[in-house]
Amino acid sequence: MVDDLAYVYLDLAAELGLDDAVLVGTCFGGWVAAEIMVRSTTRFSRLVLVDPLGVKFAGRDERDITDMHALTRAEYLKLAWADPAKGEIDFTALPESELAAIVRGREAFALYGWKPYMHNPRLKRWLHRIDRPTLLLWGAEDRIVTPDYGENWRRAIPNARLELIAGAGHFPHWEQPEAFVDKLAAFVEGNG
């Protein structure tokens, strides 16, 4: 369960003695970050969620989150990247240790997110507990979770802002790193 991960990271934050830290999570990591913050915000001053998964807003007949496990790799890249060519990976060129990490990562992603698909049905009702300034950064062309879904997140968190990054899909930190860092830095410095 994803709440296990939330407690692991809260323990880690305590172990590291974090104070006034900025918590950033992307995609599945955004889900984990939200699960952390609804439990405790004491060690964190700000929250940044980048195209997060994890919450169900729409009705039972509608998807909020694209079924990534029903897509071929090519179909997935088209939805996850503004420029799908940038997401290509030549797996045959990677060392075995890295392939093992990728395979284990895919297993963990399924373990935590298979059913209900990539969300915790109870998380939405606790998002009001996030009492820290929150920035939702969203790839304008993300079709895994769309900016409309980001707007729902913005409404559910008390002090949240949604900003779009042009020319980016589900991974703006990889696809538009400069724009991503600019927006992140402005928010962290309190100017954003």
Binding site: L99, A100, R104
Partner: protein
Amino acid sequence: MRVWYFSEMAYHPAWEEGLQRGSLRVVLPNSNYDPQIGHQLLNRYLDEFALCDEVGLDIMVNEHHSTSTCLTISVPMALAIIARETKRSRLLSLGTPIANRPDPVRVAEEMAWLDVLSGGRLEMGLVKGAPYEIAPANSNPANLMRRYWEAHDLILKAMSTTDGPFSWEGEFFHYRNVNIWPRPLQQPTPPVWMTGLSVETGRMAAERGHVVGTLLSLSAAGPMFAAYRQRAQELGWTAGPDRFAYAAVVGVGATREEGRRRANLAADYVRTSPVVAEPFTNPPGYNSLAANIAMLKAGGKRGGLVRDRHGNPVDQTTASIEQLIESGTCFAGSPDDVYDQIKALHDDVGGFGNLLMFGQGGFLDHADTVANITLFAKEVLPRLRELNAEPKSAALAAE
């Protein structure tokens, strides 16, 4: 040797459309299924199962979901009918995909009920299920085998416990009062079967004394059976041939040509079965870390089931009947041919006591199926019965 006839009760009228769309499973809309034709087919297939009882064959039923290749969606439903229409055949469920079932106690109930209904003729397969069964069941592939073993243990405990109720608070399943009625006729449980392709499955089956079956693949059967025998030896017992099962497409005819024609039609099962939309072929965690690394290294290409005698992969979707005979996927020809091919493979893998006879598939029509079943039972079965006719060896030793 015992021979277990089976058919997947295919809806082959949709295959052409499925092949064009690149998937016969999961994503092929059921508008391609005509229930009126389906009605005729299901009843025809059940008649063919019933015929097996008359000619002395045992019977196996399997199940798949959301597919045109197999319209048996519930082993217990099909076996309940077949149990009433047969008197002598043993009835093999191979089987229930227990890691995809939300309620293992329900599985135990259904199997016990079938055993009672059939007068103790049930053999009970508890199977992992194919990777493309994950999507229709929406079961989590990442912890599939942990769930499999918990369901396995619970089902056997539910079937063999006579002083219940007992409670079960596991990782996946929770019950406070397990006390199934009826309990099975065969005590403590009907014989248990597993299926697989790997050496690891062979070892795990040996640790429990279960029968282990493998499908269509000579190259997988040998190492898996050997691993089973070795593990049994380590545990102090000798695994007899009755612990092993091998599944193949069988076509027999009065002449070599006629037998090959029948096998070639039935073998369309082998050619269509792997045609599945790519995302559903390898759900995360279903295959081992090593197998997944190998796939990524090979640029996403997956090793097929069918290999020739030298271990080289054969393209299953286009394989000729000659290639399928060569790979041990089909036994085909005259009664002599078929016997000789089975005997050769039997000797190759160190012996097996159960042949799972895929005797009907796809476009093999009723007349040909009846002829296939009848001729096999008359001309081949008596000779196979003589093959390794030793008494059962493992059921007791595994206690």
